[in-house]
Symmetry: C2
Subunit: 566 residues, 2 copies
Amino acid sequence: MDSTDWQTLCAERKKQQLESIPKEWLIPLPPRKQGNVLDIPGTCGLLSERELEITNTTDVDTLLGRLALGQWSSVEVTTAFYKRAIIAQQLTNCLTEIFIEKALARAKEVDDALKHTGKPVGPLHGLPISLKDQFCIKGMDTIMGYAAWIGKPAEKDCVLVEILYDLGAVPFVRTNVPQTLMWGETYNHVFGRTTNPWNRYMTPGGSSGGEGALVALRGSPLGVGTDIGGSVRIPAAFCGLYGLRPSYERLPYCNAVNAQEGQESISSVLGPMTNSLSGVRRFTKAIIDAKPWNRDPLAVRKPWNGREYELEEHGHGLGMCFAIMWDNDAVKPHPPLVRAMQLTKAALEAAGHKVIDWIPHRHLEIYRNAERIFAADEGHDYRTECAKSGEPLIMTMRPDEDAHHYPLDQPFCAVLRGDPVHLTAYELWQLHKEKRMLRKSHLDYWEATKAVTGTGRPVDAIIAPAVATAACPHGTNSDAFWTTMCNVLDLTCSVFPVTYADKELDKKAPPHEFRNSEDEVIYNMYDPELFHGLPVCLQLIGRTLEEEGVIGMTEVVDKAIKEFKV
Amino acid sequence: MDSTDWQTLCAERKKQQLESIPKEWLIPLPPRKQGNVLDIPGTCGLLSERELEITNTTDVDTLLGRLALGQWSSVEVTTAFYKRAIIAQQLTNCLTEIFIEKALARAKEVDDALKHTGKPVGPLHGLPISLKDQFCIKGMDTIMGYAAWIGKPAEKDCVLVEILYDLGAVPFVRTNVPQTLMWGETYNHVFGRTTNPWNRYMTPGGSSGGEGALVALRGSPLGVGTDIGGSVRIPAAFCGLYGLRPSYERLPYCNAVNAQEGQESISSVLGPMTNSLSGVRRFTKAIIDAKPWNRDPLAVRKPWNGREYELEEHGHGLGMCFAIMWDNDAVKPHPPLVRAMQLTKAALEAAGHKVIDWIPHRHLEIYRNAERIFAADEGHDYRTECAKSGEPLIMTMRPDEDAHHYPLDQPFCAVLRGDPVHLTAYELWQLHKEKRMLRKSHLDYWEATKAVTGTGRPVDAIIAPAVATAACPHGTNSDAFWTTMCNVLDLTCSVFPVTYADKELDKKAPPHEFRNSEDEVIYNMYDPELFHGLPVCLQLIGRTLEEEGVIGMTEVVDKAIKEFKV
């Protein structure tokens, strides 16, 4: 580290970022107070009609089909999404690395290959893909929200990026994260705060919040986030997207940077975030088909299993039994979430499925186990990275200049404040024993539902909120209770959009007996006006290493909801 | 704990064990000095001709075939193996729990089911299976070499045992282990020392040494051991057996007891030990086909992959390229091992395969990483379990009453003596980072062999010793250098018998430059007379989660060796 202070370093880096945007791509900005900015890409005039057509094509299958046939070149598709990404950046501050020249050169390369060979380079031919600020690209910094990581270019691509290139994809931007990655919001000292394009007063969630905001604005057809306690699912849910949290090591994390690197008790995983379920399927299958285990020693050698995707073990997708988790004994969902679950239940029943209630099983014990594991080093990892530049550890996601009266602002993991709990290796092993016991208990509990489903099988999947709220004001998202369960139990799960919060339909519920401070504050925060119009998503929770089945079942649920609404 | 001292507790338990043997199964014992006792089951007169025919049937496919057709009943097969196991116990002290009545009742149950339904109960119908003293059976102690664990009956079967019952198998004895499980030999205060039936002056290895001795005497057609640093492979190699070390969590460990429970950095795995490769295949496939992931939350959801077993990714088993690791930069193999590798190389070349040299890659760094992980709790786990009864932590495997001049006697993991290294969770995470880096480095190194194999693929499998020596005198086995590599890198590997040490062929080699004290002592220990006649086995090392491929390739190698010898 040279002697430059961290503020100067951050300011210089932010200035560089601004300078990397072509002047002609700068747009007139809407008033700072304007919440919803989703229309602006269509109205600001930067995108041509054709570029709007391209970027409004949310179905990744369609995009890939046109790219593979050369109907749309990768250069024009990448240019269109790049312009829109830069609009998204100006509206929500969602980007970190901007590398237009490199991305367009790559797009031209795959265009040339297609022209030359008549064949697409691979199953993701020509598709621009955005990446959370952890996926190293050779020659570029991976700052991950730490001032100290500025100016340290990667020596090589991480395994995911290597594979994406092999598959014909075009990595084209990287996206913002919170310092430490352990917040369900997105703010750091280098790149600042990312806002939610549905309402900029709200957080897009986190830690993959840059992806959330970018993809919601259709500035990227598909982004890659990571999830250790909800970091793919929270922003997907807050931004109205589809997302997948695969099980540990199904997709290759090797050579990506991370917080608490080496913490293998509850592993962070990477997953897609996109506007179409076809994007989730195409990405996941393409990466697995590339045999990531030949490059990432931790990646699970399990080929894509077509029979699991066709739901062979779930009645071939007919007459399934889903269970809805209406509450989790920790925080009660807001009325829009309850209505989304009611709607999903009705849609599934109309499609010939059975829907029963899921009674939560040791939910808080499971959550507390994770909390203690994440805090096992007393925050030493975070403090070490901050100390390298002198930047302070961020203790709140609340914006100084936009204080509001919603009081809640607690980090995911208690380590950043409160009593430090510094564990020995032996003590950590005892938490692993507890975790194993909880996982076994939950598995047996799930298997035992065979007695009540009427299908001869246990419950096929659980449906639950990803967060108790729709996107909430900056500094108030404290709820990882719904997501963390899947990280501890390593359950594959997806997020899918269901509806929008509606002040007419989603009246405030009468108070219930509050289980804890989060529960109380979240209840008090609900105001039909405040949340009106925001997207409402749910989680579908399957079994460990059941990516194929979870994608297949999410398709069933998504179709049921769409047909039911019509 | 009541006030009974640990010596009394152990003596009483040992007496109980003796009393559980039917008087009529006691045999006249050979002189204590008699080394090789393999003939005694055939000559002692306890087994009938038919019982000898049954127990001499080493091919598990044949046994299962006759059992499934009812040609041999499970009661007669179980009785025959039980008698022979009791002979083995009298000769080598290989057993812990003896439960004849329960096993025969179970055997009768499957016989009745076959009579009643005309169908075998499952793919392991009627087969007696021995279990290392970690696999809990309801109502029975699982002492695992600790005095304090006497008199604590299990409340339920572990998942492996549940599945074995479902598959029609007959668990019939449990087998001895060393205290702490972290020695490559087999001795504890409760049940004492297990000896090697090829030469009782020698150790059968460990920690699954009870299985090794039992299966070598054909007192069990198939045993289940566990392996965290070589504990399946060392006894398999010392006793002339086939064995498999699967990758982490491929087979269900749930609810079995363990040392350092919760240590998940380098996970112990379970694997079969048997006199036939068909036993390895039948056991592994049957357990995986039973979908262990529905009972063990950690078990990998990866169905048995027939295409991997047929070696689709290894040229369908034709014209493969193997690499032999003649040395590992740590301890040089004894002459019989070198000759076994030469023989294997010639056999493979005669069968149309290519054989190249494997230059070890960061072998010692990999080993040291494991050593530090195993010692991360400063032995706190072991000391805690010993303290419960007051028994001392065992610091040597050397028998007091049979001292010999071979000096080496070091535990697997430095924690039992020497400088304690008590790690924090954060420090453990740094070891995980190092381990990931080493795994990536080794994977890339292996992949890069594509350039030299001539097959268009990387090396198909590595062939190496499992231990630098054949079975060595009690208290002298210090070599886990060859095995631990696979535990750290999580490489699936098998052990297979190749030849026998031969004082005429295996002359002492001239001294080399010693790399460390183990290397020097192991060199000095070699004496053609001492090792004459002992079985010599090798390891076949494949990729992570490549159980099917490793079994398939071991079949190829085994066949090549058998055909070459003819």
